[in-house]
């Protein structure tokens, strides 16, 4: 399992990535999806997830819609129009970060 500290900075981008691939998602679904895609390597706790979702909402990157599901309210998140470009930008940033890190981690064969 990947330690929390490493995931922390890129959580926002990961959530945006998922939201850009699905029309709308709710909290539990996001945690499950992350776990499924990374075969349990990354466990997104809801304690970390919801503050980020609310932050995205107040920043106008996502909007929410609520629906009654099985006698409880379910809140769905989806990207706004401006949010989509933000998402792309964030993903680009993350990709660059990954590239740089892998460059740094490449084994050095110099003598």
């Amino acid at each position: 399992m990947i330690p929390k500290e490493l995931i922390k900075g890129s959580l926002k981008s990961l959530v945006l990535k998922l939201l850009s691939e699905n029309s709308r998602m709710y909290g539990y679904e996001i945690t499950q999806k992350v776990e499924e895609l990374t075969s349990g390597q990354i466990k997104l706790t809801f304690g970390a997830l919801y503050p980020i979702l609310h932050k995205l909402e107040t920043d106008g990157i996502v909007v929410t819609e609520s629906e009654i599901f099985n006698s409880r309210v379910r809140i769905y998140y989806k990207l706004t129009v401006s949010g989509k470009s933000v998402a792309q930008e964030k993903l680009k940033e993350l990709q660059e970060f990954v590239d740089v890190i892998s460059l740094l981690l490449k084994p050095s064969f110099s003598i």
Partner: protein
């Protein structure tokens, strides 16, 4: 995927609501999330209870509240600033206050500035920011009123305490306003909002009791600081209700409801403990101050006695040099009897100190000189036992013997000053041993009983010191008279 029953969802909804989650749509999300997790566990083959227990363990105690705090912290800039301000200034002002208090106690310079700054920071920065943070985290009915009264009551109270410590004018008004706002507005408002909360119905009676006893206690505090009458019974009732009635009942109700002890409860106990400790220490400190200022005149009395004794000794030397005195044995008799009575009183004082503190004779002599070192200062039994007994008129007690000794000395002294009425009056007054006057409420009792019955040892010593001084004064009157007569006969 398993589907939860409606009644199970109800349980989860009420638990999340009780956790105090009020921000935006976070409550609904958390309910939905927990339901999904529980459904997932049930799908694996657990019962609802087992599944819910597992999920709750995963969230942890106060976990939900923490999420709300994190959310607020992330999205709300004001909240973030206020929370940081609250933490920083809370620590800074507390530390400054503690250092200021030490400086004040030790009389180092700068205590006033430290205390003023720390109180100002606490009242004007920490308190508002803390209330703002609380307001964002807790939403309940009438909360705006609670926070406003809390703010003004707190500022007035802190200001009042500061002004009082610094001896600035206006502390009375501030303290009065602070205490009244807290007792009449804040506590009832908190109580009402608690009573509106139906989910803690089993605690309603306890809340009423708690609010009532705290209000009484605080009003007692107010009365004490403002020197209004009736403070002591209020403090007594308030403190007793708080520690002996409210706390046990509250503890029982909390224990019977939860299997673990909440941190808040421990804080409550410690808080009440310090509350009481503080007040008790305050009381001791006040009485110590009062006591020490009373001890000073007592030592001065002893000084006076010694001074008069030296003067008297001089007169006696002069008298003994004159051959043609009408009664040459009288002044000798005066000297011997006065010294004897003086020593008798000295012995009584030593005896009661030895018996009260169980100390050696040498220690008793030392304690006689400095009565503040007597350990059981308020002992009433030993002085009563030695000097007068439980019934008036006990002729075996030292007080009775003392009276007869005073009377015989008085007779000698009066004889020596038979031609001087002024001197006679003074001697009679200094060595007064009459029974107490009969009044409607009380019967006449013998002098020694009136003087020493149930008198604390510290007061008995004082009284005997004064008596020793009076004996010396009376002796002086008589001797001076003899000296004048000598001049006349010349």
């Amino acid at each position: 995927m398993a589907k939860l029953k409606v009644e199970h969802i109800e349980i989860i909804i009420s638990d999340v609501s009780n956790a105090g989650i009020t921000f935006s749509h976070l409550r609904e999300e958390l309910i939905d999330h927990i339901c999904c997790e529980v459904e997932n566990e049930i799908f694996k083959g657990f019962s609802f209870e087992e599944a819910y227990e597992k999920v709750k363990t995963k969230i942890g105690h106060k976990g939900l509240k923490k999420i709300q705090e994190n959310t607020l912290f992330l999205i709300d800039k004001n909240y973030r600033i206020m929370k940081k301000t609250m933490r920083l200034f809370g620590v800074v002002s507390m530390a400054m206050m503690a250092v200021g208090a030490i400086f004040k106690i030790q009389h180092y310079p700068g205590a006033g500035i430290l205390l003023t700054i720390s109180f100002a920071l606490m009242g004007l920065v920490f308190l508002p920011s803390a209330l703002y943070v609380m307001k964002r985290e807790i939403t309940m009915k009438g909360s705006t009123f609670i926070f406003i009264t809390g703010l003004f009551g707190g500022i007035a109270l802190l200001g009042g305490v500061l002004f009082k410590i610094q001896h600035w004018p206006g502390s009375g008004i501030l303290l009065l306003a602070g205490y009244l706002i807290i007792c009449i507005a804040l506590i009832p408002a908190i109580l009402v909002s608690r009573l509106r909360d139906k989910s803690v119905k089993h605690l309603h009676s306890v809340y009423i009791l708690g609010a009532f006893s705290i209000a009484i206690y605080l009003l007692g505090d107010l009365f004490k600081t403002m020197h209004y009458p009736g403070a002591s019974p209020m403090l007594l009732v308030g403190a007793t209700l708080l520690t002996a009635v409210f706390l046990p009942i509250y503890a029982y109700k909390m224990y019977s409801n939860t299997t673990y002890v909440k941190g808040g409860f421990i804080f409550l106990c410690i808080g009440i403990f310090f509350f009481n400790l503080f007040n008790i220490l305050l009381a001791i400190n006040v009485s110590k101050d009062v006591f020490n200022s009373f001890m000073k005149p007592i030592q001065e009395v002893e000084f006076t006695s010694n001074f008069i004794q030296t003067e008297n000794a001089e007169i006696i030397t002069q008298l003994s040099n004159i051959k043609q005195l009408s009664d040459s044995t009288l002044f000798k008799k005066i000297e011997v009897s006065t010294d004897e009575l003086n020593n008798f009183i000295e012995d009584i004082k030593q005896e009661i100190i030895i018996k009260t503190d169980g100390c050696s004779k040498a220690e008793a002599i030392e304690k006689n000189k400095n009565p503040q070192f007597i350990i059981a200062k308020d002992n009433k039994i030993i002085p009563t036992e030695v000097l007068c007994g439980e019934e008036p008129g006990d002729s075996l007690k030292k007080g009775f013997i003392l009276k007869s000794k005073i009377n015989s000395l008085k007779a000698i002294l009066l004889k020596a000053s038979d031609r001087n009425n002024e001197s006679k009056t003074l001697i009679n007054k200094a060595l007064e041993t009459a029974n107490s006057a009969e009044t409607n409420e009380s019967k006449s009792v013998p002098w020694e009983f009136n003087q020493f019955y149930h008198l604390p040892i510290i007061a008995a010593i004082t009284k005997l010191n004064y008596l020793q001084r009076n004996v010396r004064i009376a002796e002086m009157c008589a001797l001076q008279n003899l000296e004048q007569n000598k001049n006349i006969s010349k």
